[in-house]
């Protein structure tokens, strides 16, 4: 780096006399310009710091400029950025805190006008900075950017192991660890049922599995669960976490997304249908551009692009260009994390600090979405794009009807005017009535045209690099393309005719893409084992974590692609491993050697997630309504779902599965929120599990728990089971799928005795219900219910 040593001013004056600068100009510079630069500017733009990439300690440095380009045009103060910054007359205001006195600014203006003479021998040369940086060999060698190569399954001596177990065994053996023994069948059934469909097994399912002695009893359960419509509800919801799904905009203007649910149901349907993952990705990026198919398939694909529209947006932003770029940024950030496990958003203001993603990469991708219509407008309050999904003839009929109404309305209006004039009269009045009736009839017969949140291609345009992320300081054109580290193919051969989304979708789903399959198999793995092979599920970059079992990850990715990107086959592969069927009780040695259980010496226990807890409460108490699909959002299109004067959104009083409850950004349902439901404004591939007192308060006092405990108590008491012991047994079977131990039985009986006897003034039936509701609440609050072993 070139460093200029600051020389005392007196000395510089003599040095200055050695140059070609006329003495008076030199004197002016030394007296009125240089001291100002030294005192006011160099602390940020000198040898120590170069904010904005700019130094102000030599003429060459000023000419070279910083991120915003040259700071100085000698002889032309009005074209010199330096002067505008000092004058505080534009976006850039320097010094940022206190404007210089007018006399100082005038002196610098005079100096620039005089050609900006800088009396100094041998000014250092500073090359202007431009162009894209090149990628280093180390960056190119980073593991996540290497092609997936299917490794051989390690040999396991003496027996044929499941491939997954073979990979895991190799690592465990090197640490001197052995896998835990198999889990008991009751535990395993509860585990696989929650893991695949998000609900607890029924007492009958427990009985059937425990009685089934056939060798493939477990595989039959797996197949039954994968075929259940509840599978898509559970795993679709996991996808909705990364797709930052919500039914409202959140942010500044919390407007209802009344059509978002169509995207949600599309996701659930896609999982249930085992839609190949590559197709699922293509549809969400460019479903509107994919050719062929039936009308229904075209609607389905259009609905998929809701993925691009459902993000949170600042809809009241006075700067429309900023709004547009912010929305694109949100899309890129989501796409990056969701499909690529890359934090692309970091390259908006500067080249990514850690990963080899340059600003040219960012704006190359941003151009694709700049060329895509996500919004109808960028006014305050802005409107997002929606597209009709009715067949063409319905659309035409609707349009025709609308025209008929408007014609009838103008007729009616003009007739009504004449009614009130002398020439009008009874006849006109009757005519007006007739028209009004006609309008009413037309309005009644107006065909309903449904809409989906969806994008559309606009004019294809390339963006310029936005220096420091600011749309007011533009750099070189960044032609639309993919990140160089992943696809060194140069600019896409596309023009104004299209956005490039289709190309992006095709590129993302190439079988040889190094990230798409790895990222997704890792998500599925994390869904079953609690933690991904790459723990940072949404970040495969340098600051993400390295895979614990890189070969296993690649083997799974290769299998996944080879099996036609089938998610159900992937699940089946994973859950039929011995590793998945291990006990969750660790050997103390394993905890000692591998406290995070990265090597999987035992199955990691987990707490039910928010939806599993709520759905589980409703399921065991018999309250769950298993209806699938549709909208429960109580709001008109674009209606504010939260506001100042109205209270919290209150549309949660349903007994449907949690996936169907509206997701209101910035006012998430408190029950789900309490149990770590993720922030629906950002992609989130890994739920956290906290233990906070509010969870306990909910289980002690929550209305929903009360409702479930009451229903369960009533259901148990209604059974003609006989004595208290038999009823206790029923409650245990419903909640835990097992009989109580004799010790438990005794404790519960002792509790019931006291609880039923308290408040003798109350009717006996009331005391009985209260006591049993209490017992049920305790069972529902217990660790055994709340954890999956």
């Amino acid at each position: 780096m070139v460093r200029t040593v600051l020389v005392p001013l007196a000395l510089l004056a003599t040095v200055g006399s050695a140059t070609a600068v006329p003495p008076d100009a030199a004197a002016h510079f030394e007296k009125a310009v240089r001291p100002v630069l030294v005192e006011k500017c160099l602390s940020c733009h000198g040898p120590e710091k170069q904010k904005g990439g700019l130094r102000l300690d030599s003429r060459a440095a000023l000419l070279a400029g910083g991120d915003r380009g040259s700071a100085l045009v000698p002889g032309k103060p009005e074209e010199s950025l330096l002067l505008h910054a000092l004058a505080h007359d534009g976006e850039l205001k320097m010094p940022p805190r206190n404007k210089l006195p007018a006399a100082d600014i005038a002196a610098i203006r005079d100096w620039i006008r005089a050609g900006a003479p800088w009396p100094e021998a041998g000014s250092p040369t500073v090359a202007p900075r431009s162009g894209e940086r090149s990628l280093t060999a180390e960056e190119k060698a980073f593991w996540a950017f290497q092609p997936v190569r299917k490794p051989a399954v390690p040999a396991t001596p003496g027996r044929t192991a499941h491939p997954i177990d073979a990979f895991l065994a190799a690592r465990l053996a090197t640490e001197g660890l052995t896998p835990a023994p198999p889990a008991d069948r009751r535990t395993l059934l509860r585990r696989i049922t929650f893991d695949l469909i998000g609900l607890p097994p029924t007492p009958e399912e427990f009985d059937a599995f425990l009685k089934d002695t056939s060798p493939d009893a477990y595989e039959k359960v797996v197949d039954r669960l994968l075929a259940s419509p509840h599978y898509g509800e559970k795993w679709g919801r996991r996808w909705l976490d990364v797709a930052r799904y919500a039914d409202s905009n959140g942010m500044d203007e919390n407007l209802a997304y009344v059509n978002a649910w169509r995207y949600r149901d599309y996701v659930i349907r896609s999982f249930n249908a085992d839609k190949p993952y590559d197709q699922f990705v293509r549809e969400q990026i460019a479903g509107d551009l994919l050719p062929g198919g039936t009308d229904a398939e075209r609607v389905e694909r259009l609905t998929a692009t809701g993925f691009l529209v459902i993000g949170p947006k600042m809809l009241a932003e006075d700067d429309p260009v900023k709004m547009r770029m912010d929305i694109i940024d949100e899309q890129l950030d989501t796409i990056g994390q969701t499909f690529l496990g890359l934090t692309l958003g970091c390259a908006r203001c500067h080249d990514h600090k850690f990963d080899p993603i340059t600003m040219q990469d960012y704006y190359g991708l941003a151009g694709i979405f700049y060329s895509t219509k996500t919004m109808r407008n960028y006014t305050v309050v802005a409107e997002w794009h929606e597209r009709p999904i009715a067949p063409p003839e319905v659309l035409a009929a609707a349009e025709q009807n609308r025209l008929a109404i408007s014609t009838a309305q103008s007729v009616a209006t003009s007739v009504e005017k004449t009614v009130h004039t002398a020439v009008g009269g009874v006849g006109a009045s009757a005519l007006a009535l007739q028209q009004r009736a006609r309008i009413a009839a037309l309005q009644k017969s107006q065909p309903v045209v449904e809409h989906v949140m969806a994008v559309e291609d606009g004019t294809g345009e390339n963006l310029k690099v936005h220096l420091r992320g600011n749309h007011l300081t533009l750099g070189d054109v960044a032609p639309r393309r993919f990140p160089k580290i992943l696809a060194d193919t140069g600019p896409l051969p596309i023009g104004a005719d299209r956005s490039g989304r289709r190309e992006l979708a095709e590129w993302l789903t190439r079988p040889d893409h190094p990230l798409t399959a790895r990222v997704m198999v890792n998500r599925v793995w994390a869904g079953h084992f609690g933690t991904g092979l790459v723990r940072s599920t949404d970040n495969f970059g340098k600051l993400g974590e390295r895979p614990s079992h890189p070969e296993l990850l690649d083997w799974l990715a290769a299998e996944f692609v080879a099996n036609g990107w089938s998610l159900k086959r992937l699940h089946r592969l994973i859950v039929t491993s011995a590793a998945y069927r291990m006990s969750s009780r660790p050997d103390p040695a394993a905890v000692e050697i591998d406290p995070d259980n990265r090597l999987l010496a035992y199955f990691p226990r987990r707490r039910l997630d928010a939806e599993e807890l709520r759905d589980g409460l409703l399921a065991v108490s018999g309250l769950l309504d298993r209806t699938a699909g549709g909208s429960l959002l109580k709001a008109k299109p674009r209606q504010y779902v939260t506001g100042t004067a109205n209270s919290n959104y209150e549309g949660y009083q349903h007994l449907r599965r949690s996936v169907y409850l509206p997701v209101i950004r910035s006012a998430v349902y408190d029950v789900l929120h309490t149990f770590d439901f993720p922030d629906p404004s950002v992609p989130n591939g890994q739920r956290t599990t906290t233990t906070i007192p509010t969870q306990a308060l909910f289980l002690l006092n929550g209305e929903l728990v009360d409702q479930a405990a009451t229903a369960l108590a009533q259901a148990v008491l209604e059974q003609p089971a006989g004595d208290d012991s038999a009823h206790i047994r029923l409650a245990y079977r419903r909640v835990h799928g097992r009989d109580p131990t004799p010790a438990e039985q005794n404790k519960v009986l002792a509790y019931l005795k006291v609880a039923v006897a308290t408040d003798a003034t109350l009717p006996a039936s009331e005391r009985q219900l209260r006591a049993w509701r209490g017992l049920c609440r305790v069972l529902l609050a217990s660790n055994e219910f709340v954890f999956v072993e």
């Binding site: 919390n254 006075d318 305050v380 970040n539 970059g541 100042t644 209270s647 002690l700 660790n783």
Partner: protein
């Protein structure tokens, strides 16, 4: 409230407090490996001037030129065009200069100018530290609210209170560490007090919302329908049954059971703190409680003092979306000010006389100010380019005014303080270095101040 007081104050007595002991009894004297408590008090980066924060948020954007930023030139040039350009981006069309309809006078030793809107706060000016050169980046409520609360006007980020609780933990584990009373649900709603990607333990616990009267706000799920005697039986049964199945070595299961104990304590401690009936009639009067106009905000302020006193790290009171006078400036600013003037002065006086002001930082302000130019005849538009906030206590200079706007009060021009700078300064007062208070998320280390922020040392006593 300590353990002994709690025992005295609760009908449930000893039984439940012994829960953990009971749970562990079967496993000998071994203490379970305590799961690290993310809310345990943490030492600051350097000695702190303030221990806790009370943020009085005036939602909507109070007008600086009608409250604390006295501009005689604006009165003089009333009706004339603004002699310099308006900002490139504005929220609404505005006209010429509009004088303040309110008269100003000087108060206290410091001689601070305060308009007739705030006579009670006027009486406290010698304890206040005005920042007259605040500026932000966003001219809309949503963006500006988010920026003030989280540092970002564009994305969902952890709020200031979450960062502070993350940095310092909390002093009273029977109460939440970060409380927001009657928060607004609009303009970002919970985003303004969420922990975003910070662990959920750092999010604010909301007490009611803007639509709930302060007299009725509670912590979520803190009240149920189960009678206390029955609840005690249930908790004892839960403890008994878990003893059968949980080993002391199982720290996850054990800490979950301990959270029931904590919940139980919170269930008693929080309503006790919120119970204002324990305060004297004189104190009620000081806050304006019982007077129709000031009762609601007065209760918020008194609750805030009680939470602060009980060791809550960050308390926010919101005077909900009322300060947005695009029109009816005179009438509505008068009403709004009347609702908060006495309660705020009461809070400052009360904190001071209890010795709490010394280490409690009080922050007052809105998401932006308003234009000195008129919108319509009697209104002002949003103005993030120059506005006033004030601080008090917590180690700030008392009776001081920092920075200035131009002669009309449009742009901050002297010693400008951006919202990022305010955040850096607040963290500094709490003993936290804003460049070191970081959290790694999605591939990078995030800060409250992002890549910005400079501590304004001039504000420190």
């Amino acid at each position: 409230m300590n353990r002994r007081q709690l025992l005295q104050s609760t009908a449930l007595g000893f039984g439940w407090l012994a829960f953990t002991d009971l749970l562990l009894a079967t496993h000998g004297a071994d203490t379970p490996p305590a799961a690290p408590d993310p809310l345990a008090p943490k030492p600051p980066h350097f000695p702190a001037r303030a221990k806790r924060v009370i943020f009085l948020f005036m939602h909507g954007g109070p007008s600086q030129v009608d409250t604390f930023d006295y501009k005689p030139k604006l009165t003089q040039d009333d009706g004339k065009p603004l002699p310099f350009p308006k900002p490139r981006v504005v929220s609404s069309a505005t006209g010429n200069l509009l004088r303040s309809p309110f008269s100003f006078r000087q108060y206290g030793q410091s001689g601070a100018w305060v308009s007739e809107l705030f006579p009670h706060i006027g009486g406290c000016v010698d304890d206040l530290c005005f920042i007259k050169s605040m500026h932000g980046s966003n001219s809309r409520h949503g963006g500006a609210l988010l920026e003030l609360h989280t540092g970002s006007d564009t994305f969902v980020r952890p709020s200031m209170g979450s960062w502070i609780t993350y940095g310092l933990g909390t002093e009273n584990r029977d109460l939440p560490g970060f409380v927001t009373i009657c928060p607004t649900l609009t303009h970002g709603g919970a985003n303004n007090y969420s922990s975003a990607f910070l662990p959920a333990v750092y999010q604010a616990t909301p007490l009611g919302n803007a639509a709930t009267p302060a007299s009725r706000v509670t912590i979520p799920f803190v009240k149920g329908t189960t009678p206390p005697s029955q609840q005690r039986l249930e908790l004892d049964l839960l403890a008994e049954l878990e003893r059968e199945r949980t080993t002391a070595a199982d720290s996850v299961a054990t800490s979950r059971l301990q959270s029931f104990e904590m919940a139980f304590r919170m269930q008693n401690a929080a309503p006790a703190v919120q119970d204002l009936s324990k305060e004297t009639a004189e104190t009620h009067k000081l806050y304006g409680i019982g007077e129709p106009v000031t009762d609601n905000f007065g209760r918020q302020c008194l609750m805030a003092r009680r939470f602060a006193e009980a060791g809550v790290r960050f308390v926010q009171c919101t005077h909900s979306y009322k300060w947005d006078q695009h029109d009816n400036l005179k009438k509505d600013h008068t009403t709004n000010a009347r609702e908060v003037d006495k309660p705020i002065a009461g809070l400052l006086t009360d904190l001071k006389r209890r010795g709490l002001l010394a280490d409690t930082l009080v922050i007052w302000g809105g998401e932006f100010g308003r234009t000195p130019v008129a919108q319509g005849k009697d209104g002002r538009d949003h103005n993030p380019h120059g506005f006033t906030m004030f601080l008090a206590g917590g180690g700030v200079k008392a009776g001081y005014s920092h920075g200035a706007t131009d002669e009309y009060g449009y742009y901050a021009v002297e010693k400008k303080v951006h919202i990022h700078d305010l955040h850096a300064t607040i963290l500094h007062l709490l003993g936290l270095d804003h460049t070191r208070l970081t959290f790694r998320h999605a591939g990078r280390d995030f800060r409250l101040t992002d890549v910005h922020g400079e501590v304004v040392h001039d504000l420190f006593a």
